[in-house]
């Protein structure tokens, strides 16, 4: 067919492209699509945006994930990966290319899994298995920690390292179990139950990161119920921060990672214990010192009371009194002796003055009758032989 030389409507490339863009963007079903295919030509330039082509056996679709969405993806994209991509269809005018502006990518099959996840979640939620009042406190200072995880995974290694660093006093009881695959759910249930028999203070249920399918055992109804029914508090640390499993909801505490689960199980660490011990040491010393000081105070007050009450004090004062009395006695005696001797001297003098010998010495004589010894002081008294005493002796006379 010959093209008409002058068409009824004149288009520029820009206008036509803009027109097509509008057609696509106004179609709501193209603005919210999940597209399934295989990733190829994956490229991540320095801008941070992600470009790839989604293809199947018959067609290809250019895809862009802007930097901000790429950061929230949660899935490591690889060429050859079968995925489901969510986004909107738009046009890159510069190259006239229609493409998918993607915001979510999930490995193929997760869509169905997610539906199952939601169904189970609402069922168990309605049963009250996830109720906040069911959550038990995690012991602050456990002595025995149970771990349910794969014996060979990095998760166990990370947890043991964390526990060793934070609280090496603790005893670890491991109940190894496969954590993915068809045998995982019954094995996990069995591991939890056999661990409960060992009466740990807390159980860590853990697994490293993986796809939703890898983590699926932790959404298995049997495992979720075993976690909810465990007599021992359970900390669930499965996958990464962004992964949520039903075990997370059923557990007493959800940890974003296995390492975080080990941290949450050891709220008190070796450092805390050392600090606590040091404070007890200080209190022990200071309380004993203050007791000693108290005893010392009591003792010195007793000593001074004792000194006050001592008989020594009485003895000293008695002794002093005796001294005083002795002194007084002595002085009074001496005085009296002197007094007496003065008196005696006076008497002697008076006696000497009165002595008849002194009168005789002056020429007088004492005449006594020999018969009766009476003094002859008058003539009439003189008779017979008489004794005449003079100053130096006596002689006899006879009355003539």
């Amino acid at each position: 067919m010959q093209p008409t030389l002058f068409s009824t409507q004149q288009w520029t490339v820009s206008r036509l492209t803009f027109y097509i863009r509008k057609l696509l963007e106004e179609n709501e079903s193209l603005q919210d699509v999940w597209v399934q295919g295989e990733i190829s030509n994956l490229s991540r330039p320095a801008s941070g945006h992600v470009y790839f082509t989604l293809k199947d056996s018959a067609a290809a679709l250019k895809c862009v994930i802007w930097k901000t969405s790429a950061a929230r993806l949660g899935v490591a994209l690889q060429d050859g990966m079968e995925v489901e991509v969510h986004g909107r269809i738009g046009i890159y005018e510069v190259s006239g290319q229609y493409q998918l502006y993607a915001d979510q990518v999930r490995p193929l099959g997760e869509g169905a899994l997610y539906q199952e996840f939601l169904r189970l979640k609402s069922m168990l939620e309605a049963e009250g298995l996830f109720a906040p009042e069911r959550k038990r406190p995690i012991p602050v200072f456990p002595q025995r920690i149970g771990i349910v995880t794969s014996a060979t995974g990095a998760a166990l290694h990370d947890m043991l390292n964390t526990l060793r660093r934070r609280l090496p006093l603790v005893e670890i009881i491991l109940a190894p179990s496969p954590v993915q695959g068809i045998e995982a759910p019954p094995a996990l249930v069995n591991a939890i139950q056999s661990l409960v028999l060992q009466s740990p203070d807390v159980i860590l249920l853990a697994r490293g990161g993986g796809s939703m399918e890898d983590l699926w055992a932790f959404n298995d109804e049997r495992v979720v119920r075993a976690v909810a029914m465990s007599e021992v508090p359970v900390i669930c640390g499965v996958g990464h921060e962004t992964d949520f499993t039903l075990c997370d909801f059923a557990a007493d505490l959800r940890a974003p990672t296995p390492t975080a689960a080990a941290e949450l199980a050891t709220q008190i660490t070796l450092l805390d214990l050392s600090a606590e011990l040091q404070s007890y040491r200080n209190r022990l010393t200071s309380s004993t010192l203050s007791l000693l000081t108290e005893h010392k105070t009591v003792l010195s007050s007793l000593i001074s009371e004792l000194r006050y009450a001592s008989p020594q004090r009485g003895i000293q004062s008695e002794r002093q009194r005796v001294d005083e009395l002795a002194r007084r006695a002595h002085s009074s005696l001496a005085y009296r002796v002197q007094l007496q001797s003065t008196h005696v001297n006076g008497l002697q003098k008076r006696l000497a003055a009165l002595s008849p010998l002194a009168v005789l010495a002056r020429g007088y004589a004492v005449v006594t009758r020999k018969d009766d010894g009476s003094v002859v002081s008058r003539v009439a008294q003189a008779s017979g032989t008489m004794n005449v005493r003079v100053s130096d002796g006596e002689f006899k006379v006879k009355k003539s």
Partner: protein, 85 residues
């Protein structure tokens, strides 16, 4: 006031677990702190010495602590050998 006596615990100090030693130490410290000087000095000194020995025990346990890992095998526990890196 509960009065912990030094001969209440029958286990020798070096057989006490960290928790046992710490809780006895805790009791001794609060007994000493609450004690009046009318109590026997000799008893206080004994408590203090016991407390010091307990503190030594605790700190020795902290320093020597090594993570013990066992594994459930049926009804019993067996040692678990970690794979070396």
């Amino acid at each position: 006031m509960p009065k912990p006596s030094s001969n209440k615990t029958e286990k020798p100090i070096d057989e006490l677990t960290y928790e046992e030693a710490l809780s006895e130490l805790e009791g001794i410290v609060s007994a000493l702190e609450g004690e009046a000087s009318r109590n026997k000095l000799e008893d206080s000194i004994k408590l203090f010495e016991r407390g010091q020995a307990l503190a030594e025990r605790c700190s020795a346990l902290l320093e020597a602590a090594e993570l013990k890992v066992k594994q459930v095998a049926g009804d019993v526990l067996i040692p678990f050998e970690e794979e070396s890196e």
